[in-house]
């Protein structure tokens, strides 16, 4: 009742830890068997190793947090060499999140991952500031978003999901542009830009000044975007933003998501993903839903 098939992804259940919130799974593998997961979206891969932003990188907010990690990762080659073979030992679907400071970097990362059999799909993180466009995220401009999608689709040998930024006036416009450019699916949403200030110093808490807001606080915004986009596109949507219970998953399915990702709540409760997977059948039953498929987009039906 929990299975769901999406382009490239044969999910035994719709629960996927979100990129950046699960590393490459090693820490969580000490706590539970990763094979229980529907899939895993691994930390954003860039071409070269990246250290990321200076610290502090973390600030707490009401029912949420800000992060400004800055895409710290060992680089795509190291990921292929050290992380993917290990991840291949688990019975779960690996989604490679791809990022870069220029369009060319995305493409090169994808090229290197193409040959790897462990990776089942790509997730383009188009929220990060792009040096070629004056530090603007590709995700805030429909033309740029469509362009990188098209470029990715040209080289990718696996389905391409595009992970959209919520910091936009019109999410539907971006989603449609990305769909028209050939995206196989959408991931909604990345973090909202936020800030906190230190009461003593008067300065921003994060060394990077601003950071990405995630957690239950943003759930209503994520739900709204999934709902609006579902109405206007045909490709499947993976919902993400503030999920921390089977009830939350159900809300995202109703809104139009076909699967979901769990982000910062892994930090609050490292067992949250297996817990949700365990709760999901009871919860579906409680609300009279026979299977995941029946719940997807239910708010839009008749």
């Amino acid at each position: 009742m929990l299975e769901i098939k999406l382009p490239g992804l044969d999910l035994k259940n719709p629960i996927i830890p979100a990129s950046g919130c699960f590393g490459f799974g090693r820490e969580y593998a000490e706590l539970y068997d990763l094979s229980v997961l529907g899939g895993i979206a691994i930390k954003s891969a860039t071409l070269e190793k990246r250290y990321g932003n200076p610290t502090p990188r973390i600030a707490e907010t009401p029912e949420g947090m800000l992060n400004a990690i800055g895409l710290q990762n060992p680089g795509v080659d190291a990921i292929i060499a050290n992380e993917l073979p290990w991840l291949a030992t688990f019975d779960t679907q690996i989604i490679a999140n791809v990022a870069g400071a220029s369009e060319e970097e995305y493409i090169e990362v994808i090229k290197r991952l193409n040959a790897n059999e462990t990776v089942k799909a790509y997730e383009l993180n188009i929220s990060c500031p792009n040096v070629k466009h004056g530090g603007i995220g590709l995700g805030t401009d429909p033309t740029l978003a469509a362009n990188i999608t098209r470029m990715a689709k040209e080289v990718a040998t696996k389905p391409v999901y595009v992970k959209l930024s919520p910091n936009v006036s019109n999410i539907v416009e971006i989603a449609k542009a990305v769909e028209a450019a050939g995206a196989d699916g959408l991931v909604l949403i990345n973090t909202l830009l936020g800030m906190r200030f230190d009461l003593h110093t008067g300065k921003p808490i994060l060394a990077n000044l601003t950071g990405g807001l995630s957690g239950p606080a943003i759930k209503p915004i994520a739900l709204r975007m999934v709902y609006q986009v579902y109405k206007e596109v045909k490709i499947p949507i993976i919902g993400v933003g503030g999920i921390c219970s089977a009830e939350d998953v159900l809300e995202f399915l109703y809104a139009g998501a076909s699967a979901v990702q769990v982000g910062m709540y892994n930090f609050v409760d490292p067992y949250i993903c297996p817990k949700i997977i365990e709760d999901l059948p009871k919860t579906l039953k409680k609300y009279g839903i026979k299977n995941i498929q029946e719940a997807i987009g239910r708010s839009h039906h008749e």
């Binding site: 706590l31 250290y51 200076p54 502090p56 990188r57 707490e60 947090m65 710290q72 930090f267 609050v268």
Partner: protein, 249 residues
């Protein structure tokens, strides 16, 4: 590492804004000196990392200072309350059996994790010098506890209201303590000074954390030499060999 529901056995004020909490876990894990636990506070998202000060038969002790909303809430909890705690986490202060003497340098709430170090060295009969730094007389705690272990304890306060006036380094100079192996925990400026003045020993660091287990890269610091190399304070740390980590105040 595991998540456990630990029961509060006691929670009392021991100095200005400083509380001591004794906790009883469901099953007693092996906690090494310098390791920390990550505590869920009701109504807050991120867990609060607090070092373990000492480990007993079936309880362990933490010492924390009230600095914000989370520690404030902790201070209001009473005996019997159950806390959702992740731990023990991170690296520990290695205990060497071949030393003659060690010097523990603690500042403020950096003092507690050194207590277990002192205990273990004293159990081996090794000479333990303890230099404690506080803001003022009212902030002092644990001085007697170290003395009871048989340590040689020297205290300084920034305002001179007790002991030597000045920093822990002033205190060490003043008392001519020459021991060259240090274990230190406290404010970053203090660690910086210790790092500059000693070649042997261990420092324990703090950072704002999200996951606390090495997954999020929220808490990293850089290697002092190799700027490409980084460590996660929650995983490779909080305890590092002296001289290993780049200290940015």
């Amino acid at each position: 590492m595991k998540i456990s529901n630990d029961k509060i056995i006691s929670n009392e004020k021991i100095a200005n804004d400083t509380y001591k909490m004794v906790l009883q876990p469901e099953t007693i894990p092996i906690i090494l000196p310098g390791q920390f636990v990550n505590i869920k506070v009701d109504g807050n998202m991120l867990r609060r990392p607090i070092s373990v000060a000492s480990v007993d038969q079936n309880t362990y002790t933490i010492i924390y200072k009230v600095v914000g909303v989370g520690t404030k809430k902790l201070s209001k909890l009473s005996k019997g309350h159950i806390l959702d705690i992740m731990g023990p986490l991170g690296s520990s202060f290695p205990i060497h059996e071949t030393l003659d003497e060690v010097l523990l340098i603690g500042g403020g709430v950096g003092v507690p994790p050194l207590y277990e170090v002192a205990k273990q060295y004293r159990q081996q009969g090794i000479e333990v010098y303890v230099v404690l730094g506080f803001n003022d007389k009212d902030a002092i705690f644990y001085e007697d506890d170290f003395k009871q272990l048989g340590c040689k304890v020297y205290t300084s306060t920034m305002d001179g209201s007790y002991g030597i006036k000045g920093t822990v380094m002033d205190c060490i100079k003043e008392h001519n303590i020459t021991c060259d192996t240090v274990y230190s925990c406290g404010p970053l400026r203090m660690l910086e000074a210790v790092d500059k003045n000693y070649k042997k020993g261990y420092l324990s660091f703090e950072a704002r954390m999200a996951c606390g287990i090495g997954a999020c890269m929220g808490c990293v610091c850089k290697d002092k030499e190799d700027k490409e190399m980084y460590y996660r304070i929650c995983k490779e740390g909080p305890v590092f060999e002296i001289g290993k980590v780049e200290i940015v105040c």
